[in-house]
Amino acid sequence: MVFSDLFFIFCFIPLFGLLYVITGWFDKTRIRYAQNREKTLKRPMLFRNIILTIFSILFYAWGEPIYVFLMLAVVLVNYFCGLLLYKKHNAIGKTWLIIGVAADLAALGSFKYLGFFSGIARSAGLDIPDPQIALPIGISFYIFQSISYLVDVYREDSKPQRNYFDLLLYISMFPQLIAGPIVRYGTVAKEIGNRHATADDVADGVYRFIIGLGKKVIIANIMGEIATSLLGGDLNNMSAAAAWVGIIAFSIQIYFDFSGYSDMAIGIGRCVGFHFPENFNHPYTTTSMTDFWRRWHMSLGSFFRDYVYIPMGGNRRHQALNIMTVWFLTGMWHGASWNFIIWGLYFGLIIMIEKYTLLRWRVPKIGLYVYSIFLIIIGWGIFYFDDFGRMSQFFTAFFGQNEPQGLPMHVETILIDNLWLWAAAIILCLPVRKQVEKIGYKMAVHIPYAGSYAVQFCHAIISITILICSVALLVGATNNAFIYTRF
């Protein structure tokens, strides 16, 4: 199921919300009852967790009715491995860790990369059939969460989960199941057992969700349409303007698509009392490529930092190798395709070079900014085309190697017809909203009561407006899937 699907918004969410509130009453009654007898409940969230788990499984099964069993199996393996390796500082613990991680990677490898590798083997002349496996949605995300669970337990950063269903809840929790953020077990371990969502949490969560919905439906979907119309057709002899506008549209699309998803995930999480990590911090305001990756898909970057880069030696031992490994893996994580690997290595290389050059020199900020944005956009060019023929046609046009054609009408139409959207999207890439929220916050602090009410009133108006626009735009929308759900 997709967050920005009307079925999700008007069937799944209301039903889930209703049942979650009802089970909340049950839980509270149980708690009161226990308190009266001066006992503390072991599982104060029991009914709510059951509902959350059931709906998470339903959510996943709706899109992947078969592969839901794969997920259940992965959780089972990790459950046992986690219990077996905890507090065993010897070869046994390590063995179980290796077995668990290997099992996770095997699942990822066979369902995501088998086709890719068999293709490589075929092109090397081996007679291997194409396994024809469809990629289970979200597998890259939940496998990484499983790995983080095992490693955190092994490092004793967290205790192992003794209840299979609670671990299942952690892995399958529908807000973050199919496209992150990659939530570490330690972040939510406590909240699985006991959490509390105040009215403030719910208000913030709902607002956050609706902001994310707007990002996705109003900006990303339309920008995606534009990108497809310019980059999806025949690229032979395309104009430079079309190449530039197309790839900038894609850059905007992928940011609003993915960060919109993260907002929605974080928002739903907040409503039920979870605090997921932030995944974006205005990546297009970056001043270096190194910095970009501290702002883009932060949960993936920190995963690789903590579970690959630092264990490999970080900046103390063979840093170059470590950097390139991390970036090779980052590229690879995005998909079983050469262009993603090249894209990852491209970033690795630039990050390494800039470490010894730009970042040590005194370069005016604006120069760094232009440099970063330009290279990021080229990066998206590599990212967009998994066909090298098309990629080279694109870059030929992008670098102005085709006959100059000025501003062709279809590009002009696209720019002018969506002028305010372009303007809004570019402005929203800057931390404008953050500044506005700050002002609102100050107002709320300095003007007791009225300030808070004014801020929330504005939020409500914004929310309702976005909701109306999104619902209208979703009617008749054909291509509405999130980009990152295919990774």
Partner: protein
């Protein structure tokens, strides 16, 4: 919100209450939307998109669900989002939102003249890396028609509405502004296409040596109204139309509609908001046919003029552009007032897959249907449906009996020929189950015209359907008497359902994406349109 750090939070007074207010406001609004979306009557047919909406898959068919559960869930989701209550209103709103994103400050900037049809060929062939053969083709036609075309065209540059032109969705081009907005369809074909149509006409001429056979190819409005700056968005139709003429055997008479319309392009020969031409376009096409056939033809003073006001046609749904909706036009049509005529219909009932399942018995019904102001289907004034064949007996003396085999463009033609022929028969190229030879013989047809728009003339699929009529035996079960009664009773509703199905079965205006990168790339035959796809 991103990267919010909440350390040392000072107490914010009233925060809790404000949050509760927010939750109530948004919650109540959301609850209302949910009730509407879940419990209100679901839309089954979209007037705007002219299509039946998705249906809920059979939830009781467990076997099928087991076989492919992912397909089932996907179908439920798409059913839910396809059939939402007030779909058309919401879509209109969505177009308004899209419209509001527009930066509209070009209005007074430049005025671009509409390119005269003739120069179209030149402009596009010069400005582009068109294949050599095509250039040769177009030059040929250019020179051949220079003589008769240039005279009409020298003063054409001044019929400017406004130089604005932009691309809409599904290969549409929107030009003009305000109440003069006109939506055009892009044509992707080249002079090489239309082999099937030529072959069909030549075959008909062979098969019916005693009848006169006419080729009528109707251009799209694009040919006459596309501004020069948008020239790349659509291929010129003239080379294509005249290449058909040149390939026809001498026994086939070519009716030069193209030229006739060119003379009248300042009049309302095309509808601005519909993908069809207007009644007047059909009138001039009929005039040219009458001339070619050597039969009498009356001026418009022998007709009553009728108007359906506030007409917004199919191009609104296709282009998804709100400016089209905001520019309603008068749908004008003419009914002959000095001749008697009597139309006899046989209609077809189609199933969901556009297969003919039943044929009605002949029944009498009006040839021109009167539509209310504001009806989006007003083009169905003529005949009322495509899923029928009609035989019109006129009081015109003589022995000339015309058969028009047509697509929906052809619907606007026969009503202007009642002064010219003793009988006018109209067959739709998609819906005719009888043997054409038998039909021609039985009815003593003396003149046969095949009137297609350029899309259908281009597609060999459309031509082969007609060709099939020469050999087919007719496979529709005859209706029983009891059926006839209900069929008669239903005939109005048949017409109505037929009218609903009309556009979807046939011409989605453009079947090729406008080739934005390389507009003049030679197009393989068949690409400009595959109207049958939706039917099969």
């Amino acid at each position: 919100m991103e990267n919010q750090t909440d350390k040392d939070i000072p107490e914010v007074k009233g925060k809790h209450g404000a949050s509760v207010m927010y939750i109530l406001m948004v919650g109540i609004f959301f609850a209302i939307l949910t009730v509407v979306f879940v419990f209100f009557h679901r839309t089954k047919y979209s007037e705007l998109e002219k299509r039946d909406l998705a249906e809920l898959p059979d939830i009781t068919d467990i076997e099928k669900i087991k076989k492919d559960p992912a397909k089932f869930t996907a179908e439920v989701s798409s059913w839910f989002s396809d059939t939402e209550p007030y779909r058309d209103e919401l879509m209109t709103m969505s177009m308004k939102i899209r419209g509001a994103m527009k930066g509209d400050f070009r209005d007074d900037e430049e005025t671009v003249s509409f390119r005269p049809a003739e120069t179209a060929v030149n402009t596009s062939s010069e400005s582009n890396s068109k294949s050599k053969e095509n250039v040769k083709d177009s030059e040929n036609y250019e020179s051949q028609d220079e003589a008769d075309a240039s005279t009409d065209d020298e003063d054409e540059d001044d019929d400017i509405e406004d130089g604005k032109a932009k691309l809409g969705s599904s290969g549409t081009i929107i030009i003009g502004k305000g109440e003069n907005v006109r939506a055009l369809m892009a044509f992707g074909g080249t002079a090489k296409g239309g082999g099937g149509y030529v072959d069909l006409l030549n075959t008909l001429a062979n098969e019916f040596p005693n009848a006169k056979v006419y080729a009528m190819v109707a251009p799209l409005a694009t040919e006459y109204y596309l501004p020069a700056k948008a020239a790349k968005a659509s291929n010129p139709q003239k080379p294509f139309i005249y290449s058909i003429r040149d390939r026809l055997s001498p026994n086939v008479k070519f009716v030069d509609i193209y030229d006739e319309l060119l003379k009248h392009k300042k009049e309302d020969i095309y509808l601005r908001t519909d993908h069809h031409w207007g009644a007047l376009g059909g009138y001039y096409a009929a005039k040219k046919l009458a001339e070619t056939a050597g039969v009498p033809f009356k001026g418009l003073d022998a007709y009553d003029k009728h108007v359906v006001k506030n007409f917004v046609g199919s191009m609104y749904g296709y282009s998804k552009d709100i400016s089209v909706k905001n520019a309603p036009e008068d749908f004008v049509y003419y009914t002959p007032n000095q001749v008697g005529y009597d139309a006899e219909y046989v209609t077809y009932t189609l199933n969901k897959n556009f297969k003919i399942v039943r044929e009605s018995k002949p029944f009498k019904s009006a040839f021109f249907k009167k539509f209310k102001d504001g009806t989006g289907n007003a083009y169905l004034t003529f005949i009322g449906t495509d899923q029928a064949y009609v035989k019109v007996k006129t009081s015109t003396p003589g022995n000339r009996k015309l058969l028009i085999i047509k697509d929906s463009y052809g619907n606007a033609v026969p009503g202007n020929l009642f002064y010219s022929f003793n009988e006018v028969h109209v067959i739709d190229f998609r819906y005719f189950t009888h043997n054409l030879k038998d039909y021609v013989a039985k009815n003593g047809i003396t003149d046969i015209a095949v009137c297609f728009n350029v899309f259908n003339a281009y597609s060999s699929g459309s031509a082969s359907k007609v060709k099939k009529m020469l050999t087919q035996k007719g496979g529709i079960p005859a209706v029983t008497d009891s059926d006839t009664k209900s069929a008669d009773k239903k005939k109005d509703s048949t017409l109505q359902t037929a009218s609903k199905a009309e556009t979807k079965a046939e011409e989605m205006p453009v079947q090729t994406e406008i080739s934005t990168q390389e507009p003049e790339k030679p197009v393989v035959e068949e690409t400009p349109i595959q109207p049958e796809k939706t039917e099969e």
